[in-house]
Every structure is written in structure tokens, then in C-alpha cells.
Amino acid sequence: MGEPLIDLQKPVGDDVKQTTCYMCACRCGINVHLQDGKVRYIEGNPAHPVNRGVLCAKGSAGIMQHYSPARLRKPMLRTGERGSGEFREIEWDEALALAAGWLAETRARDPDRLAFFTGRDQSQALTGWWAQQYGTINYAAHGGFCSVNMAAGGLYTLGGSFWEFGEPDWEHTRYLMLWGVAEDHDSNPIKLGLGQLKGRGAKVVAVNPVRTGYGAVADEWIGIRPGTDGLFAFALIHELLKADRIDLDYLVRYTNAHWLVIANPGGADDGLIARDADGAPLCWDRNTGAPGLALSADVSPVIIGEFQLADGRQARAVFHLVAERYLDPQYSPDAVAARCGIPADTIRRIARELAEAAFDNPLVLPIEWTDTHGRKHSQMTGRPVAMHAMRGISAHSNGFHTCRALHLLQLLLGAVDTPGSFRYQPPFPRPIPPANRPGKARDADGRLDAPPLGFIHGPEDLLVDENGQPRRIDHAFSWSYPLAVHGMLHTVIRNAWAGDPQPVDLLFLFMANMSWNSAMNTRETMHWLTDKREDGEYRIPRIIYSDAYSSEMVAYADLVLPDTTYLERFDAVSLLDRPISDADGAADAIRHPVLEPAAAGDGRDVRGFQSVLLELGARIGLPAMCEADGSARYRDYADYIVRHERAPGVGLLAGWRGADGNQHGKGAPNPDQLQRYIANGGFWRAEVPHAGRYFKMANRDYLDWSVGMGFIPNANPVTLQLYSETLQKFRLAAQGHGPRQPPDEHRERIATYFDPLPIWYEPFEGAQTSAVEFPLSAVTQRPPFMYHAWGSQNAWLRQIATRNFLYLHPDTAARHGLVDDDWVHVDSHHGRITVPVRLAGNMQPDTVWTWNAIGKRKGAWKLARNAPEATQGFLLNHLISDITPRGDYANADPVTGQAAWFDLRVRIEKADSSAESAPQFAAFSGHDPDSAPLRFGAPFPRKDGAP
């Protein structure tokens, strides 16, 4: 008998479509192979700039996401009490009429009575614009509870940021420090980059209380205590300053290190930048022994010393203040070691390694370039030290300053946008802070004068009333959280319930599982969503929600608008929102329907939310969405993507603009644009000119190109801000200067936390509770194989983990007499959970952790009620309060309002073994799923001819 014949030449499928993955926010390019109209195989698109052919676990499991039994089928109208999960399916006509009616009614009363908040979506370019047209200031996306500390810390310092807007120079860096990163949005690019670094033998240092994922492959793991990274960074800065291992030339060329800061204690100008009559910043010029223009190429700045300005005021250079502050012994390695949990010797060694990597072996690339002064340089000299940070830094109440501290450290090393260092991705860098301010007032059409989210340049931009009280429902841009540039999704539901600052009529949510894993204080959030007034009406009168799956949040809506899956709709991954650029190119992308919901013939009737939103806008007569005769201006979202112009020539997509499709960046709308994208694999990318690859903040080739693309208004250099004058303006206001000052109760807080140089303070939860009572930090991590709540309903992904455990260090476990699979009560100042534990030595001993968002509520996500996700899995969110222990502010960063998820402090106590994790909540109504085996692939013929 010979070997059996096997068909090695079977085509993968009968069709292949190229689109963009949305199993997470990384947005990799995918080739979707179809067979008989069903998905056969999803693979990475090798030509795609984001993933270059690779695909993560979630991406491969997209098939199961698409065919998930948890998909919503039709619009639904609530029939039972909120939270019961009882609905009846209705037709779209009825759903749209209802929604339009509610929206119109609310708008007529007061547009601000609509709170429109979107979660993990990537169509903020549309939703923010829509909110502006509607006229509500109460709009935001999820960034406020996600990583606005990173965004704001970066944008107010570098004009760019970590998050997904910058990247390490994977090709050249020799030393990478990863601060608090488990997966991040750029998960495939980071993995590709780490693979590359490992191959080259570059050193990777992971600063993280837990050593998993990226930390596992790192050369060195620094098991830091949560919330202390700022101190660690200051100690590194201290060492570098002490040894004079800093890049002064870089500092005076690209940063405000030499700008003069007025020293006038008690004065209204104290701490402001000394400027000439035209507002140009001044420095002290060694050549003339007098103040000179700080931005001029011809000055020789002096950076140390006290100088007298022409008008007699005293001033010192920013660098002087920096050096003075961080050379202080309180920031020496010995002083911070105990608090950070890092030996002082290790801190000294890391400082030395950084200095060696940056200065002893500078990286020189033979790239000629021209700076913004017009000077030609024959080469680019880089500091091959790169840093990347994410939520381990940002999800703390001191995260904004910690993020600034990391940027300060990078800048002192001369390691921002040089070969081998952190690099901007276009359209960044942008001016600091970016020019657009949040909308405040409505015009005659009821439209807001600017999009509801923007950047605050000073107290005058805040959204507060004449008494200094918040105007927005989430209190963003108020004196409590002045730089809340992404809004604050985590405060909306409480405030809507409390009517603070004023009641809302309609809560309109999109793609945010706000009654479960994205809530702080989950139990009360459910209460706020269902609480009634004395007259029996819900305190939040109406809730519309759009989801694609039967998540926990669906049960809390009055009207559910079922979205398509990501394989069924048009989406724009826009440069106006969260682009997919890399440091060497600007890029954007689309999703397009590779499957039609109707074609499945199973009665499922869902619509892309963006199209629904445009239709609702037209139905309620929003001018921008209607023609003069009142008919809808846009057929659907695809039509909007192509035809809508944000500014002349600027639309959602930058590629193939102009009537013939040969303009890029800017150009008239091109009716064939989407076809051009589809033909190009679903994405567009434009290379940064070769000479513009580095020093983008002061690189004429880059800046000219960027202006040409429509990314920035002019080609002025971007001066990186060691010292933030914006912050100082708030501090001055708090100290009693200027026309707009905080109410007294906020003065001290503003004065403290709006320090123009980075500071470190104990995160609020730790500061306001006792370390004896709550001795442990508790954090979550992203599992690489799941995306928040979407992942664990997935038939394949849930086989990797249907449940989570609380990981404890063996020393902690020993203290409590715990072994693997014991149960513990975990208490915070706010609540208690009862959960199973596992021991692991690869973590900081005073920290406990678990995977995020695996726990599910019974009856949600079409999982069986006895599924381990519901019976054993758990969330830390039940322990995380939405307000500080003192109760005075949101559990958030005082500058940006970023949710402080990782400030959580807990104690543990052995529990009797338990059958179920606690707390448990009543199961939603509905049936358990079919338990028939899943034989995916069976319909595809196995062998040639054979069935």
C-alpha cells in the first residue's frame, strides 16, 4: 500500500477579499478567503504596513467572531425592566423612527441633554462631527478611561505620544525600555519589532510589576511597585544629570530647555515664559550677554544662572529649573529605591546603560537633511535608546506627570525622533498643544462652534459656567479635570443619574460595555442605569445602545441598534482619528463588506452603526446631513467617507483624492476612492520623504511634506516642552491670577498638580487609604489572545482561557497560607470579590494581578449560564471605585481625568473553597446556547471530490 493521495493543490477558497481586522484596535490588514460565501481562512496581508503579514490569535479567530451566536439579529425594544434582558425584536423602520423621535425631542429641549458616548470604536472622525452637528457638548469616546494620560502627556510635551502615535525605531534602537506595556494597541507592530530587536541582540528592559508577554522575552525585568515609575524615572534623570550624561545640544535645538522662565514669586507672570513683544520666547544669549530670541539659530543659549530681563524681571532657563529640581537628593537612587522596590544599584546601572547606549555609541545614519533654519546636515546622529510606555503608566492618578517624566528622560538623552530612539508617526508631531479647542457655544443652526473634544490652552478654554462649575456631564474640561482631552466616559453614568451638572434625557452609547468590564464600580453603575425617580420614571430617562453582540450593556438599553460585524460594513481608519501610520509613512485604511448580512438568509437584519447615525442625523434634520430639500445628503457611510470634506480637500481618507484619484493627502473627493482602496488591499500609505525620516519636529523636508498632506497648518518647528507653560497658567489661576480662577475648593488641587515640570506623588487611592489595611496593589493585564469582553465569547479563544485567576507571589501566598486553586476574599476600600488564586514567582511581591475582562455576567454573550466565565471568572472592576476613597473627585488623574484603574489597593483573606466567584448577579433572560459540537470547516470538502 502506498501513501494516500492528498490534494496539495486545493485552492484556499473561491474568493479573497482584503480588508482591515477589527478584532482589536491594532487594525492589521487581512486577506479574508471565502468559500461558497463563507469565511474559510483569514490571514495577515503581507503587503500591509501594520502587520506585514502576521496575524495575532484574535485576528485568526475572527471567523468565530463573525459566526458568533452572540451576534445581535435585529433592532430590539425593551419589554421588561431595564437590566432584565427582556426585549422584543422590531423592524428597522420602527427603531429609526423611535430613535429619531427621541433625538429630535431632546435636541429641541436642549442639545446638551443628549450624552453621546462611544467606546472602543474608531470612527470618532464621524461621531465627534455628528455630535458637533447635533450641538451637544456631551460627547466623548473611550480615551478618557483608556490612556488619555499618555495622549495628553505626550501631546503637551512632544506634540506626539506613545500610545499608537509613535514607535521605537525598531530598525536601529539598541536599548528599549518598555514601561507598563502588556499588549498595547500596536500589538502586532510591537511584536514584530521585539522579534527584530531580539534578532539584532538589542537590549530590552521591561519595567512592569508582572513578567509576562513582552517582559518574558526582555533581557531585564524590573519588577517595579505600581504607581512609582515617576520616581524611578526621576532617579534615572538624577543620575544622568549628576554625571552630566545628557544631550545639551539636542536640548537647546529642539526643546525649550533654554527658554527663560520668569521668576516673580507671587506675581501674575511668575513661571511664564519670558517673551518679546511679539510673543516670541527669549533665552539668554552668550554672544550678546543679553536676551535673545530663543528660536533663532544665531543665539548661543546659556542654560544656567539667574538673568535680568530688559524690564528688570528675573528669569532662569528651563534647564536650570530642571537640573535644580531633579538633582535634589530626594530623587537619588538611594532615596527612591525602597518605595519603587528597585535596588539603588540597579537604578544606577540602568542609568549608566542608558548613557552608554545613547552617548558612547551614537548611531549615525548617512541621511542628508535640512532643518527648519535651512541648515543642511550631512548626516543624522541618533541616540539609539528608545522608550515605549502605556497603561501601566497611564492608568494611575499620577500618570500624566509620570508620562511627562518619561518624556523628560527621553529628551535629556536626546532620544526623541532621532535614529534609534522613539519616533513620531505622521501626522505627528503637531503644535504643542494642538491648536483645536473644544466647542463651547452653538450657532444659529444649533451646531457647536467646534467639535466637542479638543485641546485646552489655558483656563479660558475650560467648559465651566460662570461659577466655575462643570458644563459637561462628564466634568471634562472643568477645574476638576482641566486637560480631560478625551472626555471621561467613566463618570458619565453616575453624573447622568445624579443630574450633575444637569440631567440628560437621552444617553446614547456605542460600542462600550459600560455596565460591566469598562465600568468602575460596576455594581452601582448597574444601579444608576436602572434607578427610578419617585414618579417611577428611570432617572436616566432613555438609553439607546449600539452593539454587535449581546454584551452585558445591551440589557440596560431601551432601544438596541444592532451593528454588523467588522466583516460586513464600511469603516474608515482615518488620519483624522486614529491613523495606522508608521514612522516612515502616513497610512489610513478602510473596512468594506466582505459578507452581506442579508445573504446569510437567516433573518438577521443588522446595519452598520455609522450609516444608521447618518440616517438619524438626516431624519432629525441636522443641516450637514440634509440637502436643501430635507432629503438625506449621504446615502450611507460609504458615501460619506467619499464625499464629506472636513476642510476643503480634506476628508476621512487621504488616499487617491482628486477627480482622477492622483492626489494624496489633500484633494477633491474622488467617487472611485473606495474602489482604489479596495484595489490596493484596503489601505493607503505615503512614504515620508527620505530626508524627513527623523528630527521631524525641526525637519524642513518632513514639515513641508506634512503641510502638503494637510496634517499641519504650517511648517514651523515644534519645540518640545520640558517645561509646560500651559500647566503654569492653571497654577497661576489657582494662585489668584487672571480673569478665570478656580472655585476655592479646587485651588489647592490645581496649584499642586499643575506643576510645569513633572512631579511624582503617591497615587490617590494609596495616599487616602492605609498601607496596613490594604497592603497590596492589584492590577489587570490584557491577555494577548483576547480583546476586552469581545474575546471571551469566541469559541476558539475561550478555549485558551474560560476563566481567570488572581495571581499571587508565593511569598504573599505563604503569608496567607494559600496554595494554587485556593479561594480568597479580596477587599478594597470599596468592595469585595471572592476568587480563585494561583501562585507565580514572576511578579512583584506586593502586587496581585489578573487578566482583564474574562469574567462575564450569567446570561450575557450567549454563553451557557454555567460557563466558567460566569461562574469562576471575575472582574477586578467590582473593587475599583469610580471616586477616590475621600469621595471628593473621580478616581482619576487630576490633570487629565484619566481613570486610575491601577491605583487599586487591596488585602486578601483566605476563603472557604467556593463553587462560584463572587459577586454574582441575576442571570439575564434568554436561552442557553445550542450545545451541538462546532464542526467549523466540515462543509469545506476535505479531499478532492470527497465530501
Binding site: M1, I800, A801, T802, R803, P868
Partner: protein, 306 residues
Amino acid sequence: MHPSFSVIFFTTFSGAGYGLWFWLGLLAATGQPLTRTPTLAALALGFVMVTAGLLSSTLHLGKPLRAWRAFSQWRSSWLSREGIAAVLCYVPALCLAAASHYILDARIAGALLAIFSLATVACTAMIYASLKPIPAWRHPLVLPVYLVFALFTGGLLFAAVFALSGWPVTNMAGFAVMLGAAVLWRFKRRAWRDIDSRPLPVTRNAALGLPEDRRVSVFERPHTEANYLLREMGFVLARKHSKRLRVIATTLFALVPALLALPVYLLVHVDAGPWLLAASIAALAGTLVERWLFFAEAKHLVSLYY
């Protein structure tokens, strides 16, 4: 290893059946005139046990209807050989049934039956003994143990059948039973002691290709729930259960039969039949427990990964 009842039943009952056939075959091969009733009874009992065991063993198959395919790989596979030998046994067994009508030469049929029966049991043992990933089964006593168990349980049944059908069983049968029990007891005690004292011959570090200098422990499994490997090969038996079960097994397969054989040996005139029958039943029960332990106590190397 997962103690699958169909396989335990098979090795116990078919094993005893082949043992029975072996003794019958041996008797026939010596040329002794065969009395029809006990011969047919022994053949029939053997047939029932062997066949029931074999059928039961196919229950363990994912595709029982394709079982015939298992005969093809006799050149390399002990399972295939076992299958062939098992089927081959039926030929001399049938011949012997016929021979008892004086149709064929019972001596040749008997010899073949004895050989094929022993061979089948040996193949069964070799299936296990050849598996390197299961060190407990690589023990040199596995083959002898399988053979002795078959001979012992089969012998008891053989003697019981003949005694019950009035064949004069000598009191030396009682002695043989006690001897067999002693041998089994010795063998198993030895095998168990070795299992207990010998750690797995491979370390987790070797399974992962790592040097031996740092202890490696499981942080997270690839799956939080069970999978095929864990259900099939990850069976874990608590030590205290295993101790108890060993005592029960030994009592049933060695002590009880030996005690029941005592009167047969000592009291020349006693009716051996019932005693031997009772001893057979005890021995079979003990064998079942022993087989259960054979699986349940065997650790597969894949457990190093978990």
C-alpha cells in the same frame, strides 16, 4: 493514563479467556483424550470471554466499524499483531470444537490454540511494554505479569470448568493456584515498588529542551479547561487511593484464591469445583482492579508539560 473500562475489561476477560484456551490447548496437545462436555464448556467459556473482551475493546475505538483495518500492520504494530493473533485463535479453537467430534487431530489444534493464545496475550502486553512515553509500562515485568495473569485466571477457570463437569482435578491444582498466586503477588509487589521508587526518567527541563540548572514550574496551561491529553493521559490518582486499591487487588487476585485453593490442595476428596470457581471469580475481580491500577498509575511523559 485514563483507565478506560472497555480496555480493562478486555485485557482481564480476554486475558483469562486466552489463558483458559491455552490450558485447554495444552491439554489437547499432550494427546490426552478430551472429554466432550468439559472441553466444549471450556472452549465455549473461552470463546465468550475472548469475544466479549474483543468486542468491548472495539468500544474504545473512535471508528469501531473500521476495526478490520487493524490487521494490516503486523510488521510493526503490536496492536495489529494482537488483532491477528486474536483472530487466529478462533481457528484452532473451532477445530478443537470439531476435534472433540474426532474430525481433526486435536493435538495440532491444541498446540496451535495454546501458542496463539499465549501470543495474543504477549502481544497485548507488548502494546504497553513498547511504549516509551509511559515508563511504568516499560517495566520488564509487564510482559510476564500479563502472561501469568492470563495463565492464572485462565487456569483457574479451566480447572473450575473441568472440576465442575466432573473431571477429576488433582489436588495439585490447588497447589498450582497457590503457587501462581505467590508468583503474581511477588511480581506485582516488585513492579509497584519500582513504580513508586523510580521518578520519571525524563525531567520537565529536558521535555522543554532547557538545561537542568533552574527549576521550571507551570505558570499557565495552554487551556484552562481539559483537553484530550489531560483526559486521556493526565489522569492523576491520589497515592492513598492507590495504596488501598493495591491491597484490594492483591487480596482478590492472590490471597483469596490461595486461601480458596487451600482446601482443594489439602482435602483430597473435597469437591474442587465450587472452590475453584470462587477462586476464579475473586481472581478476575482482582485482575480488574489490578488493570485499573495499571492504567491509572501509569504516568505519561506528556504530563511533564502540564
